[in-house]
């Protein structure tokens, strides 16, 4: 589904991704873990074309993503929920949901299903984005991407700053997304949450993939967790 090969990305002069390679397969819910500044968010932005890599290859299906503009990448079926959620504050909740182009009017999740899983959004449909709480913003950011016809969804620390019951809520939604045959690539700081939801983990350390493993192995490997994540 998604294969990164030797991706090198720079912010100005600073070399952030120093040859990242990993693969996410169909049906997987995979994570990118690592300490602050390791390059997790940059990896997502490189895939999206927001911070285009200087070298390397990113294959989505059989298509090369490097060199494409973000809107082209998105319309191939990549959904992106950034860390800052990026809700449009001057648009209402409904406008936020309706904004992405619906290819062939086909929605992965219809509005009915969205209201079912995100009841809070239905209540606040005509409120402006700027009036939402952090949790509501996170819900909206995820729901907004689900209205697109996506095959892969990338989330950047969706649980950050959320109350524990909301974290649980997000976990449930991720499982539901997985059920609709969408591949999920999750960037997380919350290792416990990652272990609870994911099938597979990658750890980025100093711009490289330092570890990859199944949830069953990683979940019990305290040594790895301590070494790279300081758990």
């Amino acid at each position: 589904m998604l294969r990164l090969q030797d991706v090198n990305t720079f912010y100005g002069d600073s070399h952030i991704l120093k040859g990242i390679s990993f693969e996410v397969k169909d049906g997987e819910l995979a994570t990118l873990l690592g300490r602050n500044g390791a390059g997790k968010s940059t990896t997502l932005k490189s895939i999206m074309g927001i911070v285009p890599p200087k070298e390397g290859s990113i294959l989505f299906g059989n298509e090369e993503m490097v060199g494409k503009r973000p809107h082209q990448i998105a319309s191939l079926g990549l959904g992106y929920v950034p860390e800052e959620r990026a809700i449009f504050p001057s648009l209402s909740v409904l406008e936020n949901l309706n904004l992405p182009t619906k290819k062939n009017r086909k929605r992965l999740w219809g509005l009915e299903k969205i209201y079912e899983y995100f009841p809070v959004l239905k209540e606040r449909l005509h409120h402006k984005g700027s009036q939402l709480s952090g949790g509501e913003q996170q819900m909206l950011a995820i729901a907004r991407v689900l209205t697109m016809d996506i095959k892969l969804m990338m989330l950047d620390e969706p649980t950050e700053g959320l109350a524990p019951f909301l974290v649980l809520e997000i976990g449930k939604i991720l499982q539901e997304i997985k059920k609709s045959r969408v591949v999920v690539l999750l960037v997380e700081q919350n290792t416990r949450f990652a272990i609870n939801v994911a099938d597979k983990h990658h750890i980025i350390y100093e711009g490289k993939i330092a570890y990859r493993g199944d949830n069953d192995d990683f979940g019990v490997d305290k040594e790895i967790q301590t070494r790279y994540l300081g758990v």
Binding site: R69, A74, A86, F88, P89, S90, L91, L99, T101
Partner: protein, 292 residues
């Protein structure tokens, strides 16, 4: 000073402000979405007046044809400028873009001066809008009433377009966070072209509208431009409501200033702007985000 006279001046100030409204709307929309402080806006407005002159003098001698096609032509011209010039500049620091728009202003003015001369061209009020209407408290020129009606309709139209249509929502989203619009699979560059064309079209419309009541010269945009920046600062950068309210406020300040003590009239709007910058730098309706 009679109450009637004060009423006349207040009413006139409203109409004075309506030209500011049209110009600042375009300036503000372009700034809001593209982050460009467009010094050439006054020059586009001037070009609008010359487009109207060219249409009525050389193509079809009818004001209404110019009124319809002048702004459309200017909108298309603005869109072309976006595609050929401005698009290449978005990645540069804002100062470069500002300098570029400044150069563009000079170039447009000089081209017009070379073609049409420095003394201006004739433009008369259309026959059907000549004369005055009795408003009860005063006789007021028909044309100026027409002007305020067009401005009101345009402001309403722009507001409806931006707040009620999907394209309007895309423009607002682009103003909020154009990168995220891009990441949601929408080709933002088409929207920026549209926004630029819309802003310049509004400037062109303002140019067509003032041609009958002002001297159509290559320099006519210069004086208005500075006042429009005052409007945008007072109303708030990138805000539609801000442009409308700000424009009307500036019109009224000028009208009242002139009534009370003319030498202060112009200074007054700058003082007002300075006060706003000190107390509420984002203006009446501006968003905090622009001032991070």
């Amino acid at each position: 000073m009679s109450a009637q006279f004060i009423g006349m001046q207040l009413f006139n100030g409203l109409i004075l402000g309506s030209v500011y409204v049209l110009l600042s709307l375009g300036l503000s929309i372009i700034f809001g979405m593209l982050g460009i402080i467009n010094f050439a806006h006054g020059a586009f407005y001037m070009l609008g007046a010359y487009a109207a002159y060219t249409i009525t003098s050389y193509i079809f001698p009818n004001f209404w044809i110019a009124f319809i096609f002048g702004p459309i032509f200017m909108g298309a011209f603005g869109a072309a400028c976006e595609v050929f010039f401005f698009r290449r500049l978005y990645k540069l620091p804002p100062l470069y873009v500002m300098l570029f728009t400044f150069g563009l202003m000079m170039a447009f003015q000089d081209i017009i001066r070379m073609i049409f001369g420095s003394m201006g061209v004739p433009f008369n009020t259309p026959e059907s809008l000549m004369g005055a209407v009795n408003l009860g408290f005063m006789y007021y020129p028909k044309y100026r009433l027409f002007l305020i009606i067009v401005t009101a309709l345009c402001s309403l139209g722009v507001w409806l377009f931006l707040s009620k249509t999907r394209l309007g929502a895309l423009i607002r989203a682009g103003t909020d966070n154009s990168q995220m619009v891009d990441a949601l699979g929408i080709n933002i560059s088409r929207i920026t072209t549209l926004v630029f064309g819309l802003g310049i079209g509004l400037a062109g419309l303002a140019g067509v509208l003032v041609a009958p009541i002002q001297n159509v010269t290559h320099l006519m945009g210069m004086d208005f431009l500075i006042d429009c920046f005052v409007v945008v600062v007072i109303g708030g950068m990138g805000s539609i409501a801000g442009s409308i309210i700000g424009g009307l406020i500036v019109g009224e300040i000028i009208a009242m200033g002139i009534m009370v003590w003319p030498p202060i009239a112009n200074t007054l709007i700058y003082l007002f702007m300075a006060a706003f910058l000190l107390v509420r730098p984002r203006g009446l309706f501006g968003r905090e985000a622009f001032h991070d």
